[in-house]
Amino acid sequence: MIQQERMVVVRQTEIAHHIFELTLQGQIVQEMNPGQFVHIRVSQSFEPLLRRPISIANIDKEAGEVTLIYRAEGRGTTILSEKQVGDEVDVLGPLGNGFPVDELPKGKTALLVGGGIGVPPLYELSKQLNARGVRTIHVFGFATEDVAFYEDKFSTLGETHFVTVDGSKGTKGFVTDLLGELKPEFDVFYSCGPLPMLRALEQFYPNKPGYLSFEERMGCGIGACFACICKTTEDSEKDYVKVCSDGPVFPKGVVKL
């Protein structure tokens, strides 16, 4: 159920250049699933006016804590990055439909492919897949080394490869370059990242089932305003989908890329 809550800041750390890891405590954590997002009002003033959709990176139901990883690049996320421990944050959530975790039986392998600030939701997904006995392979692309994060955390869950556009960390190039070299064996892929990456991945694995998480400018975040519409493919039953409430995760082949 979607709720609005004033969550409390437990921790906030800059884990890479302008990349912040924010942990919040509150009741709504109990409802969260990997791949969902929260809609945050960073200020009670009219500036900025709209909420910011931010993906869920880690869920700790026992502690009632959720961790979000975001890039502070605009006014809204910069204000969020200035929140101190003990501050309250107005959160609406959890929103959207996340990754299907029970798709694979124990012993199968999932390939997780992320790009930049699309990597965070794959962390909770990987944790939950591993908890179910699914093996995970992680292939993540970043622009440069100084904006890369969570290598250690992913490495404890499974085989982890980094690629950077400038070659400052891992292989030089894009995730698809590295996947071409690695030729990983897997059963299902899950991905979150920029549109060109999702497009390339869908073409790269035409015969594998996969799930893609999308990003689009949002208004309400709950499906009422029709801002975050994506066109669908000819095979889809629907004319369009809303990223916020039908997604942000869609099976491969639903959204026209």
Binding site: R41, R217, G219, A224, C225, A227
Partner: protein
């Protein structure tokens, strides 16, 4: 709650607060959050004869104390609204104001004729002010002669009272208001969004795919208040006011300027519970103002 009730043509409102068209879909999403029966009315998303898929994305852009949108009247079309959306809304004890849009006068007439027969549709809101479609919409709202012709044609077929939603993108809004009153409009809703544009800082090109969009949010409230204030003096039909309403004081301001009821738009995206919160806060506000019934506030700026 009777101190909040308002009677308008076709509308028996428990309270004067309603979500504005285009900001609330057909109610499904907000029904997950609270009981829609709490609302004074619901202005549903614009309905056209055929389904519309709307404009390319990006469709929204944030601006100082506001936002631009160019959704493009996306809706499932009249048949679907009649067969699915309106029957679904019947489970709530709330009057529906159906926003009617089109390209030609015949389109408006067709939607009005059929949608006004739905049992829960208690009034129509003629959308002659949408800035985001290439044909129709705002072109009807900027020429008093055409506006009058359209209203007369719709009035001739509608089974329920007809309100006309005015555009602020005109030199003289009073002239349009008077034209639709003469044509037989039962009420006015105002204002729709102001046409605006935001440029991308790097490329210098418009952020919204449509180029222009409609500006809404707190930034437009002073414009809306001025227009309600002027139109109230010039017409005898009631006004439902809107434009940047986000708190109980904004409601008081619109009613003081001359609105009989108030719609909440963009604020629904910021505080998803804003409508019920305002409704709950109104009685206390009336106490503070020393007012017995909310209707005493209507037009007090002019007394």
């Amino acid at each position: 709650m009777s101190r909040l009730s308002i009677q308008l043509p076709g509308l028996d409102l428990k309270n004067p607060i309603m979500p504005a068209s285009g900001c609330f879909g057909f109610g499904h999403e907000y029904a997950q959050l609270y009981d829609l029966s709490k609302l004074g009315a619901i202005m549903i998303k614009a309905t056209t004869v055929e389904k519309r898929l709307g404009n390319p994305t990006p469709r929204v852009a944030e601006t100082p104390a506001g936002m631009l949108n160019a959704i493009g009247l996306q809706n499932p079309g009249l048949d679907k609204v009649m067969s699915d959306e309106l029957p679904w809304l019947e489970k709530y004890d709330v009057p529906i104001i159906a926003n009617v849009a089109g390209t030609l006068i015949e389109d408006y007439v067709e939607v009005a004729r059929r949608i006004s027969t739905a049992p829960n549709v208690k009034a129509l809101e003629l959308n002659i002010s949408c800035p985001n479609v290439k044909h129709g919409g705002i072109t009807f709202g900027t020429d008093p002669v055409i506006a009058r012709e359209l209203v007369e044609a719709v009035k001739a077929v509608s089974k329920v009272p007809v309100y006309v939603k005015l555009s602020p993108n005109v030199t003289n809004i009073v002239e349009i208001a008077q034209a639709v009153e003469i044509a037989g409009a039962d009420g006015i809703t105002m204002i729709n969004t102001l046409i605006g544009m935001r440029l991308d800082e790097r490329t210098g090109k418009p952020v919204i795919a449509n180029g222009t969009g409609g500006l809404s949010g707190p930034a437009v409230k002073p414009v809306a208040i001025r227009m309600v204030y002027d139109v109230y003096k010039a017409v005898d039909i009631p006004i439902i006011g809107m434009g940047g309403v986000s708190c109980v004081q904004d409601v008081i301001d619109f009613m003081s300027a001359g609105a009989s009821a108030v719609a909440v738009g963009t604020a629904n995206f910021v505080d998803h519970f804003v409508c019920p919160n305002i409704i709950d806060a109104l009685p206390k506000k009336l106490e503070e103002l020393g007012v017995t019934h909310i209707k005493e506030l209507i037009g007090r700026s002019h007394r």
